[in-house]
């Protein structure tokens, strides 16, 4: 997803224990208004994923005036995103945050910790433990080593790999592809990022209630659910419809 030619992305968004972390590069050669334009594009690109999210915003050593700061808040507001904290090395920026009623911190060296955004069990799994997630940046997949049960929601902004089942009543929402080494009985929405048309959903047994790829949603077929196991399958988007193929090693090309 990242353009590899670029030295640094001016706007990076990644998952952390406390929610999502958005870093706006403090390179003074980039105008803040350009940063905001890119931020807006990025958020619009992953709107389904980011909407109503909780963000921590890292501003480095950039000094912000009130207009700049308000402009940034306005963009986050547009996506119903709440800002949990502002991290800045500059006093003037921190006082802007204070004026807006947002807690602010000095940057610390502590690496951002991995994220598990599983609704219904706030915070419990985030510190590693059962979730066993490794730190990732925006391009890395989220690896889950357990069954996702009814009522649990897994959200991740890139690919998701699950070693276990996704049971009926559970939901997985991913920016990229979803691979389940187990049975899918619940709902999976893959490819929710901009350019997510190429995402696929693979499972050893695919008997979902609903499957979504990008902006297309398909309902599970009752007859198919009663079928004896047809083996591993892969769902992908072809000409605007979700198509199931047998997921064989020589055909299992993963795009997206």
């Amino acid at each position: 997803m990242n353009a590899t030619g670029k030295k640094f992305e001016a706007v990076t968004i990644k998952g952390t224990a406390g929610g999502l972390l958005c870093r706006l590069l403090d390179d003074e050669t980039i105008a803040f208004s350009d940063l905001l334009a890119e931020l807006s594009d990025r958020l619009a690109g992953g709107e389904k994923f980011f909407r109503k999210g909780r963000f921590t915003v890292e501003l480095g050593n950039r000094s912000l005036f009130k207009d700049d700061f308000d402009g940034m808040l306005e963009i986050f507001n547009r996506f119903d995103i709440s800002i949990e904290a502002v991290i800045s090395g500059v006093q003037s920026t921190r006082s802007q945050a204070k004026l807006a009623g947002i807690p602010s911190n000095l940057p610390n060296n502590q690496n951002t910790r991995p994220a598990l955004v599983a609704e219904g069990q706030p915070g419990k799994n985030s510190a590693g433990g059962r979730g066993g997630v490794q730190p990732f940046d925006s391009a890395e997949a989220y690896f889950i080593r357990r069954t996702v049960r009814s009522g649990q929601v897994i959200r991740h902004h890139t690919d998701v790999i699950i070693l276990g089942d996704v049971n009926a009543g559970a939901q997985v929402i991913a920016g990229g592809s979803v691979i389940v080494w187990g049975t899918v009985r619940g709902r999976i929405d893959a490819g929710q990022n901009a350019g997510g048309e190429g995402a696929v959903i693979c499972a050893l047994s695919l008997r979902p209630t609903q499957l979504g790829i990008h902006n297309v949603v398909a309902m599970g077929n009752d007859d198919a659910l009663k079928d004896p196991d047809v083996g591993p399958e892969m769902a992908s988007l072809q000409d605007g419809t979700i198509v199931l193929d047998s997921w064989m090693p020589h055909r299992g090309r993963l795009r997206g």
Partner: protein, 266 residues
């Protein structure tokens, strides 16, 4: 060493939590253990009725928590089995009368004195459920082989895991072997496949349970009852014994051989 706090829960109502608690409690007493059973279903108390102790309630769980009675005063000893004690629920209050911390404190106190503390959880995933699992060392999930009950059990397992308790164990209740054979009921394997947790008991459908429940007696005393035997087995598994699961297959009548078949010995 303090006793073990075991919570019996299910998510869905009417799958047999209270019956299981009553019978498992009695079965553990038969195994020589000291057992306290707690009715955590405040406002909809039943466990006292199933145990036949309804008319002996003076104080209840909420009285203890709110300091109107000491724990000892509220505990009802079963005269038939002195090693079994019941802490009844309040009928005139609701689930919010008690907090998870208070429940954990209560089960902890009881565990000092009893080998097992069984907590009968209310249905649902709200405050009552949270209270019931607050002090648990082990959670047993009761489900029947119905899609809706299994779905709720799955939700509950997720919540128990999220509360960082050990993975719960499963009691599959009211299974009808004949229906399973016809493919009209989820089988043990179907349920295990979906829930993916370890089984601790399979209890067959048994009319005797209704009879016993209405009389306020445990079915575990009934030597003929299949359900009674199943509960006794669960109790022994809880104590660490390795007991194979009862074969639920009803004896299949040998196919009647026809005249010609008999004649030719086919």
């Amino acid at each position: 060493m303090p006793g073990k706090v075991v919570t019996i829960t299910s998510g869905k109502g009417g799958v047999g939590k209270t019956t299981t608690t009553a019978n498992l409690g009695t079965a553990l007493v038969l195994q020589g253990k000291k057992v306290a059973v707690i009715d955590a279903d405040i406002g909809l108390r039943n466990l006292d009725v199933v145990l036949g102790l309804e008319n002996r309630i003076v104080y209840d769980l909420v009285d203890v928590v709110e300091g109107r009675a000491r724990l000892r005063q509220a505990l009802i000893k079963d005269k038939r089995h002195p090693e079994l004690a019941l802490l009844p629920a309040a009928q005139t209050r609701d689930k919010n009368a008690v907090s998870p911390a208070q429940m954990a404190d209560l089960t902890n106190q009881l565990a000092q004195e009893f080998d097992f503390v069984l907590v009968d959880s209310p249905a649902g995933i709200e405050q009552g459920f949270k209270n019931a699992i607050a002090g648990a060392d082990l959670v047993l999930i009761v489900t029947t082989p119905e899609v809706s009950a299994v779905r709720d059990a799955d939700r509950i397992i997720g919540l128990v895991e999220a509360a960082e308790l050990p993975t719960p164990r499963l009691i599959l209740n009211r299974i009808k072997p004949a229906m399973v054979r016809r493919g009209d009921m989820l089988s043990m394997d179907d349920v295990k496949d979906i829930l993916a947790i370890e089984l601790i008991g399979i209890v067959p459908e048994d009319e005797q349970v209704v009879v016993s429940t209405n009389r306020g007696e445990a079915v575990v005393f009934d030597n003929v009852s299949k359900a009674g035997k199943a509960y006794n087995n669960i109790a022994r598994r809880l104590l660490g014994e390795d007991i194979p699961f009862q074969v639920l297959e009803e004896p299949v009548e040998p196919a009647k051989k026809g005249f010609w078949a008999r004649l030719f010995g086919v």
